[in-house]
Symmetry: C2
Subunit: 358 residues, 2 copies
């Protein structure tokens, strides 16, 4: 006889969501035994359709979704989603692996009704400060979002550890975009800027409009989350973000944009060549401190932590009161559905430990 029934409700069975469902299914039995739980997936929704069952969705249906079958109109629509979520049997975890800018209300409904929330979706936390604050107002350890910065790399929990143990974070510095890491590594190898962007686009590293990455917007969303975690009441417009292309290119369609970027090739080539003569290179570096946030192309010595970075790796360098002379550094791939799903799953395990109690 299991002591507690844990309901799991998923928004966004996309690349990350499907990998996550697989992980939950694979590890369900072990978790149930270790933590004396009965784990049920009670809802799976995308923006249009969903399936829902308070007693747990049949494993065959979950497997169908994992193996690529999409939700169809045979299943119920998302109209009464807030209602379903607030009546999801407790204890309950709502997971948002969408990239929706409008999931805020649903997350709030979940928190209000006593659910835990796990996000890989950066947007709710990166919108206005008041939204960030509101999502954190339902008590300690109710909302988890390890994968919003650096995917599965232990970034958010390291920030939390610093804060909870009374350390003071003086500066967080690093490269937070695998896409831009790949482009900068290729520039360093002498590839023209336009070719770097084309290749990154072809390999699926960039968003379908590469300006989403090249404008620094994706990095800015991560930086604003870190800034707010260390207590800054900051809005997007407070961050100084350098675009990697002239604003005059904003008016173009994606196709037109891809046509004109070769105009930037010479400029980038010269910059990297000059830096190379000084045994330096360039990185797209974001910096957070109490003084403010900046995101810009930065020259770095090749044998420094930043300059030594290669390919799509992320690097995060923490300078704190305790890690002052020598920083704490975390490095590795900061994107990808499998490592992201594993990070979300780890957040779920943290919640399970809390639910299990003693």
């Amino acid at each position: 006889m299991k002591s507690k029934k844990l309901s799991i409700f998923l928004l966004g069975p996309g690349n990350v969501g499907k990998e996550l469902l697989k992980l939950i299914i694979e590890n369900k039995l072990t978790l149930e035994q270790n933590y004396d739980l009965d784990i049920r997936i009670t809802g799976i929704f995308n923006s249009k359709y969903g399936i829902n069952n308070k007693e747990g969705i049949h494993p065959d249906q979950v497997n169908n979704i994992c193996s690529g079958l999409t939700l169809t109109s045979d299943t119920i629509t998302s109209d009464n989603l807030p209602n379903l979520i607030s009546h999801n049997p407790k204890p309950s975890i709502l997971i948002d692996t969408t990239s929706s800018p409008v999931s805020f209300d649903i997350l709030l409904t979940a928190l209000k009704s006593g659910s835990f929330v796990v996000l890989s979706n950066k947007r709710p936390l990166a919108s206005s400060y008041s939204v960030f604050h509101k999502l954190h107002s339902y008590g300690l350890n109710r909302i988890f979002y390890e994968t919003t910065v650096g995917a599965g790399l232990p970034v958010i929990r390291t920030v939390n550890t610093f804060m909870e143990t009374g350390d003071e974070i003086l500066e967080i510095k690093g490269c937070f975009s695998g896409t831009l890491g790949f482009i900068f590594s290729s520039l360093e190898d002498g590839m023209p800027f336009s070719k770097c962007v084309e290749q990154a686009k072809k390999m699926g590293y960039t968003e379908s409009d590469p300006r989403e990455d090249l404008s620094g917007q994706d990095v800015a969303r991560k930086i604003i989350i870190l800034s707010r975690m260390i207590g800054m009441e900051i809005e997007m417009e407070d961050i100084e973000v350098q675009k990697l292309y002239p604003s005059s290119f904003d008016k173009y369609t994606v196709k037109e944009f891809m046509g004109v970027i070769s105009k930037l090739d010479k400029k980038y080539q010269e910059k990297f060549q000059k830096a190379n003569k000084r045994n330096n290179t360039f990185r797209y570096v974001a910096k957070v401190s109490k003084k403010g946030c900046t995101i810009k192309m930065t020259e770095a010595a090749k044998n420094s932590d930043l300059g030594n970075l290669s390919g799509p790796d992320n690097i995060i360098i923490f300078k704190t009161k305790r890690y002052f002379d020598r920083p704490l550094v975390i490095k590795g791939p900061g994107a990808g559905p499998i490592v992201t799903a594993a990070g979300v799953f780890d957040d779920i395990i943290s919640i399970i430990k809390i639910i299990h109690g003693v």
Copy 2:
């Protein structure tokens, strides 16, 4: 009215223990409010003496210990320690910040009586496999030891995350000794081996007998903990450890040893010079994989993660099924009382979250 009284019992009010007591006192009120707890320090013991009070030791007494007053024979002796610990009011955390090789029985008493255990003391976990196994047999999340490898760096919890989320660790590789990191950095800069060791000893980086470090024993203790965490039933004699001095030097006193190590200067100088010509350097690298464990001087490209290391920093490189093409890397100072105490305190907070439950 607080709902739960949490007792904290400390063995070893030394450098780390005192910093820890300070952290507990500084953060007590916030923790109590956040987690609805009444936190009491109920025992502080060194190997000879101790103070104990089930209702909580008076803050003045704790402050006296923090500010350097040692425990004296005015206070009770440690003879009935197991008895005190097993009757320590629950929930209770026993903390071992000693470097005692014989605290195992006391830890076991604590676990048996329902306490949680936190260690920065490597020795109980690094003794026989059966002891390691026994300490883990009292249930999940009952024993925490983040600081036994890499001090405050998030090493142990990263291993736990891999294991719990169903990843497979293929290799853990790195430099786990700040002392040897310092010595190898100095060798790289051209300093003679004997001078490096002398300076490291003078700066308090080495144990009073530097052979404790130079024999690789300190690294081996960390490696055996990591190996066992990933499921290897390994004993110390199974690890291939390279000493940094000839075994014939083992017979000397410390003073004699310090007198003869200049005999090794030329050998080390030549090794580093040759490597330098290949744009390489040497590191003292430990490697763990299912195939076995090795700890030895290893040549590394200067622009690699290992070769790029400097000073007393530790580096830990995880290659797993998910982090296969590009590893997850953690780097930073892996020793020091303040970061170690903070790591122990973070383990305590993890336990408090579990005790708090929902």
